[in-house]
């Protein structure tokens, strides 16, 4: 067996101070002040006493000392929370960005289904875009000529192949783009499902393609939050946590490990200063808690009881138009709902503008809502159309126990993420 990928002591450092300077505008006033201060900053920069040094340019290691080897023809799953370094690892492997330290050797062409449609130009026809996109992905012209008919068949756009793609429906556009990427036939395929575009149908196509590639004996790296997909498609997985590789094991073992340790298991998520990007200021998340009806912080809730979700946070400066909210999704990554504390017009009138200080936004999810299983809570604090201060789509996860819920007298799995107690009426009409 030859080694397809060999990663040694890989590290990637990002500077977060630089981004802070760029994205800290949140009000027009700031922009004006910033512009007026420009000559001063240029002068200071020239003298070498720039604000940048004093305001603390901090760095983070998005990947730190990661090493692993992967043999040809294996399918490796990569799991970890958001910000654990999964995407950074894939970016380095596909040579989009350079590591800060360490080395990687990759045998063969690396293709990724992320590249779908990159370089597509709306004014060009389908045919022209196939050639353009193929060239960008590193295909030779002869190679594209060879596979052209196959790609057109696969994309099902047939008669529209000489129409500019700006006239395509979004579905046609994606199918065509995917057709090119799918025919690249790389030795190593990288799939980052987290960032994959498109609808469920499209994602399923991606996964189908991945399965084909794996069966052909190619090497696949698969990133997903969808544990069942990871279990189904990979034999082995690595777990990343804060840029470090903390586990490599057969998939079942790695997923169990991840679910039981990587995720906050306590029913409470606390944010320390280093977890909060500088760009979030003046918003500062403190804690997200899951409480049962007696007010106790729990990591397993009962479906037949109501659950209280509370997010505690601090505002270092007054904010206007603020909304603080939650995403609820299944571990497979399907959203169940998104809700904000100022969704109600009256609430918004009262709390849209908030003074600096410490707050708790709390809501109650009624009893008889969840089905059995594991759920993920994400958080978001933003001003609509202005700025997103903070977001973590996977801040906390928890289990639901369905004992006593409707239908539990039958020992079977019920499909779907919700398990409502519906008001059934049964009539005999004859």
């Amino acid at each position: 067996m030859t080694t397809a990928i060999s990663v040694k002591n890989l590290g990637k450092q990002y500077r977060i101070g630089a981004a802070q300077g760029k994205f800290r505008y949140n009000m027009f006033r700031d922009v004006i002040v910033d512009t007026l201060m420009m000559p001063v900053r240029v002068f200071q920069a020239l003298r070498g006493t720039g604000l940048r040094g004093t305001s603390g340019t901090s760095t983070i290691w998005a990947l730190n000392d990661v090493s692993f080897d992967l043999e040809e023809g294996r399918v490796l799953g990569i799991v970890g929370r958001n910000g654990a370094g999964k995407s950074t690892l894939l970016k380095i492997l596909s040579r989009v960005t350079e590591p800060t330290k360490g080395t990687v050797s990759v045998r063969g062409r690396v293709g990724s289904l992320l590249e779908v449609g990159t370089g597509f130009h709306p004014e060009l026809t389908g045919r022209e875009n196939i050639y353009m996109n193929g060239a960008i992905l590193g295909m030779k012209r002869a190679e594209i000529d060879n596979k052209f008919d196959e790609m057109v068949d696969f994309s099902e756009v047939g008669q529209f192949i000489d129409t500019p793609v700006k006239r395509y429906s979004s579905g046609m556009y994606l199918r065509l783009a995917f057709a090119v990427a799918a025919h690249l036939e790389p030795e190593i395929l990288v799939v980052d499902e987290v960032l994959a575009v498109g609808d469920a149908e499209f994602q399923r196509k991606c996964l189908g393609k991945m399965g084909d590639v794996a069966r052909q004996g190619r090497t696949v790296l698969f990133v997903s939050h969808n544990m069942s997909a990871i279990l189904r498609l990979t034999q082995e997985a690595i777990v990343l946590k804060k840029g470090q590789l903390i586990k490599r094991a057969p998939t079942q073992e790695a997923v169990d490990f991840y679910l039981s340790s990587g995720q906050a298991e306590t029913g409470e998520r606390l944010w320390s200063a280093e977890d909060i990007p500088a760009a979030a200021a003046p918003f500062k998340p403190i804690a997200l808690r899951l409480k049962d009806k007696t007010g106790k912080v729990v990591d397993t809730v009962r479906s037949i009881e109501s659950v209280t979700l509370e997010w505690e946070y601090q505002l270092d400066a007054p904010l206007t138009g603020l909304r603080v909210g939650l995403y609820l999704s299944t571990m497979r990554g399907e959203y169940i709902f998104t809700a904000f504390d100022t969704d109600d017009a009256k609430q918004y009138e009262q709390f849209g503008a908030r003074k600096a200080g410490r707050y708790i936004s709390r809501c109650v999810i009624p009893a008889d809502f969840f089905n059995e299983g594991r759920y993920s809570l994400g958080v978001n604090a933003s001003s609509f159309g202005v700025r997103r201060y903070f977001m973590d789509e996977n801040a906390l996860s928890f289990n639901v126990d369905v004992t006593g819920a409707p239908g539990t007298q039958w020992p079977e799995m019920r499909q779907g993420p919700v398990r409502p107690r519906l008001d059934w009426k049964i009539e005999k009409i004859d």
Partner: protein, 285 residues
């Protein structure tokens, strides 16, 4: 079938590691991606005049209108500028406007080439040099279209090209491409981090036009300033064009070689700067 392709393409092992010191230029990589350069040029040209009423005529209209304005102002209308060797002013101006147009459109397109192809830069690996290079080379098509007018002008004014020096024209064309590429590499790489380039560029090209003998003859510069003047590589390009086509001025002199040297300096420094910044493009763009 699939098997034979497989065998034909032995996988190559790529080593990824942090580049240290001055990044190697790695022009071999660029050669591997030559087809992409071709496709990018082709895409730019295909798209450039889409949904415009006049289409490719714009490649002609811009230099011709500039020439007419110059002609009105500098050829007796307001002021009288002495041309070299009594060449009719329209031809005199137009021979300079051709390389000048190539230069400015190259700067405009290339400086934005990385930022406007952001999704390519952040998603796929390819030598980033492809983007500014294709933008600069794409300008050659407009240059060729606009050149047709020059032929017409020369027939109209019965000016015969200088056959002795005409063969050097490709060299000066190459020089203008090198100059444009050198400056464009600097601007495009800086633009990734500081979008100020977009605001600086109009001033830069306007200012540069004043110090380049487009509307006037380089002979109006007094002798003691000639050498300083030739530090502007575009002065060498424009003088070279006039000399190659019309036999105007004296031809390659010390000043010309200074211009060539500066162009080469722009290109080499631009290449190294670009290569060195390249590794941060995906993170900072």
């Amino acid at each position: 079938m699939a098997k034979s392709i497989e065998l034909a393409r032995q996988p190559e092992t790529i080593f990824i590691k942090p580049s240290t010191g001055l990044a190697a230029l790695n022009l071999r990589d660029l050669w591997t991606y030559r087809e992409l350069v071709y496709f990018m040029i082709w895409r730019d040209i295909k798209v450039r005049y889409k949904q415009t009423m006049l289409g490719a005529a714009w490649a002609v209209i811009q230099p011709v209108l500039t020439m007419l304005v110059f002609n009105f102002i500098f050829n007796g209308g307001i002021a009288k500028v002495q041309t070299d060797s009594n060449i009719p002013y329209p031809i005199f101006a137009y021979t300079a406007l051709l390389p000048w147009g190539l230069f400015t459109s190259a700067l405009n397109n290339a400086s934005r080439s990385l930022t406007s192809n952001q999704n390519m830069v952040t998603k796929i690996y390819f030598p980033r040099l492809v983007l500014p290079l294709a933008s600069v080379l794409g300008g050659l098509v407009d240059f060729a279209i606009a050149s047709v007018i020059l032929v017409g002008l020369m027939i109209y004014y019965r000016v015969t090209p200088n056959l002795v020096s005409l063969w050097t024209l490709p060299f000066f064309l190459l020089l203008s491409v090198i100059t444009a590429l050198g400056v464009a590499l600097w601007l495009s790489a800086i633009n990734v981090q500081y979008r100020d380039v977009n605001y600086v560029l109009p001033f830069l090209t306007q200012f540069w036009l004043f110090i380049t003998p487009v509307a006037y003859s380089a002979k109006v510069i007094s002798d003691k300033w000639q050498l300083v003047y030739s530090l502007n590589p575009m002065a060498g390009v424009v003088n070279g064009f006039r000399w190659a086509l019309l036999g105007a001025n004296t031809g390659p002199s010390l000043q010309m070689w200074v211009s060539v040297g500066i162009s080469a300096l722009f290109l080499v420094s631009g290449l190294f700067y670009f290569r060195n910044m390249e590794k941060t493009f995906a993170d900072t763009i």
